[in-house]
């Protein structure tokens, strides 16, 4: 499903116990986040450099602070 991350790439990681399926991440970053049938995020591969700002915005928008952007 998700391609392996390359050097210097970043990945989105979900703090699962924190996540309550609010779905803001998928609205803000549909390129990288889909929702499963229960509304929980499915991360679609690593974040390319060009998407970093958008990814940071999605991370900041999570009301549960459940989304994290980390070095691969």
């Amino acid at each position: 499903m998700s391609a392996p991350a390359g050097v210097g790439e970043q990945v989105l990681r979900v703090d699962w116990p924190q996540c309550r399926a609010r779905g803001l991440c998928a609205e803000l970053l549909p390129e990288r986040i889909a929702l499963d049938e229960w509304g929980y995020p499915i991360v679609l591969g690593p974040v390319p450099r060009g998407e970093r700002t958008l990814a940071r915005e999605a991370v900041a928008a999570c009301p549960r602070r459940a989304l994290h952007l980390r070095d691969a």
Binding site: M1, R13, V14, D15, W16, P17, Q18, C19, R20, A21, D36, E37, W38, G39, Y40, I42, R70
Partner: protein, 419 residues
């Protein structure tokens, strides 16, 4: 609810279970082995690294790498003493080897913990046992009371009886005074564990192997097993739990790596599906059971792994589809319910596998759901559950076909009682 057996047989073995006749007491232990040596970290690593000693809690992580990580982080954090944790929470009800080991040879396990603590400079050694096997906690308490180790503080904990209690981060949560449930971490315990300190958290059997290597010497340890996988491993051999969910009987044996399985399995087990690695493990096809060997490499070739050494045979004629449905139902109930995909996905998966057991071809949906839960939780509970279910559909595909065609030995009326 599935519960561990209260009575388990234990047979003498080559190393860990070689002192069975002498009893569990410290005096007998010291009469056999003498004073515990105190190798420094380099000497300890030099002992175990060539033996490729792996953890016995299920993940099979190399012990030497864990120890190296603790040492590295100890160096960076002056004044922050490492912590040693002996994990015998044994949440898997099909497994009884850690509990049994602490019952019959507690000092070998505690030796391993002290060896590690001395080498790492840890002052506190925590031992975590399970609430549904209270005699194990008592055995540890008695053994610890007999020992005299200046500078070592023993701390005993009792984990709640649930499947995920033994997961490393759940154990650390318990030690921190919070509910012992899995929590998110992106750092290994060896780097930042109990109170943020570098923590050597390993399974009880793993510590006994550490002690065995030092007590007997690497040469005599490696005289057992194979060149690639020296030493021995403990197995819990069981059959399906009774209708009320309780495992009945069971046997703990110590086998050498590479040993053929027929030496410890009975005749009926040699022609029946075998679940290797417990409820997070994988089914082995009956055709592969007679040639099965207890070797990580060999098991990998047939899509299985030893896990924590729980081996469940359907030699009683139970149907693997009905049994899998029952176990997945149990695993869904055992979800801590903290992570959405597990909380929602496992009950959905359990319902579909139950549908399969009742004769509906739900395989496609089962495949979807296993894909949806995998890798999406704070612990490996969804992954392990998905692994067992997937092995039913792949390894035992022929049996599933027979089951759906009603050619399976188990007839529909026999499975109405599942859960």
């Amino acid at each position: 609810m599935i519960r561990p057996s209260a009575f388990v047989d234990v047979l003498p073995g080559p190393l860990l279970l070689s002192g069975l006749a002498d009893g569990p007491h410290l005096r007998a232990h010291l009469a056999r082995f003498g004073r515990l040596p105190e190798p420094g970290p380099e000497a300890l690593l030099a002992c175990i690294t060539p033996l490729a000693l792996r953890g016995r809690g299920g993940a099979g992580f190399p012990m030497s790498r864990k120890i190296e990580t603790v040492l590295r982080h100890r160096g960076r954090r002056p004044g922050r003493h490492p912590v040693v944790v002996v994990n015998a929470a044994e949440g898997e009800p099909a497994s009884a080897k850690d509990s049994t080991l602490l019952d019959v040879a507690p000092h070998l396990v505690l030796d391993g913990a002290v060896l590690a603590a001395r080498a790492l400079g840890a002052r506190a050694v925590h031992v975590v046992t399970s609430a549904d096997r209270p005699w194990v906690g008592s055995a540890v308490e008695a053994a610890v009371a007999d020992r005299d180790e200046p500078g070592i503080r023993w701390r005993l904990h009792e984990a709640e009886a649930r499947f995920v209690s033994g997961q490393a981060r759940a154990v650390l949560e318990l030690m921190a005074g919070r509910p012992g449930l899995p929590a998110t971490t992106w750092t290994p315990a060896a780097a930042a564990g109990h109170g943020g300190r570098p923590t050597l958290l390993s399974n009880a059997e793993s510590f006994a192997h550490l002690a065995a290597v030092v007590r007997w010497g690497p040469g005599r340890y490696a005289a057992h097993g194979t060149a690639d996988e020296p030493g021995t491993t403990l197995l819990t051999l069981t059959t399906p739990p009774a209708a009320d969910g309780g495992f009945v009987g069971g046997r703990v044996v110590e086998v050498e790596h590479g040993d053929p399985a027929w030496r410890v399995l009975d005749a009926a087990a040699l022609v029946a599906p075998l679940l290797v690695g417990g409820f997070h493990g994988a089914w082995v096809h009956p055709r592969d059971v007679p040639g099965l060997r207890w070797s990580t490499g060999h098991l990998r070739e047939i899509g299985a792994s030893l896990g924590a050494g729980a081996v469940l045979s359907l030699g009683d004629g139970s149907c693997p589809v009905a049994e899998t449905a029952r176990y997945v139902g149990y695993l869904a109930d055992e979800s801590a319910g903290r992570c959405g995909p597990c909380r929602n996905g496992l009950p959905a998966l359990a319902a579909e596998v139950r549908g399969l057991a009742e004769g509906a071809d739900t395989r496609r949906r089962v495949g979807e759901l296993t894909g949806l839960v995998r890798g999406r939780g704070a612990c490996a509970h969804p992954d392990g559950t998905a692994r067992m279910v997937t092995s039913l559909l792949t390894t035992l595909e022929d049996h599933v076909e027979d089951h759906l065609a009603e050619h399976c030995a188990c007839h529909a009326d026999r499975i109405v009682g599942i859960r």
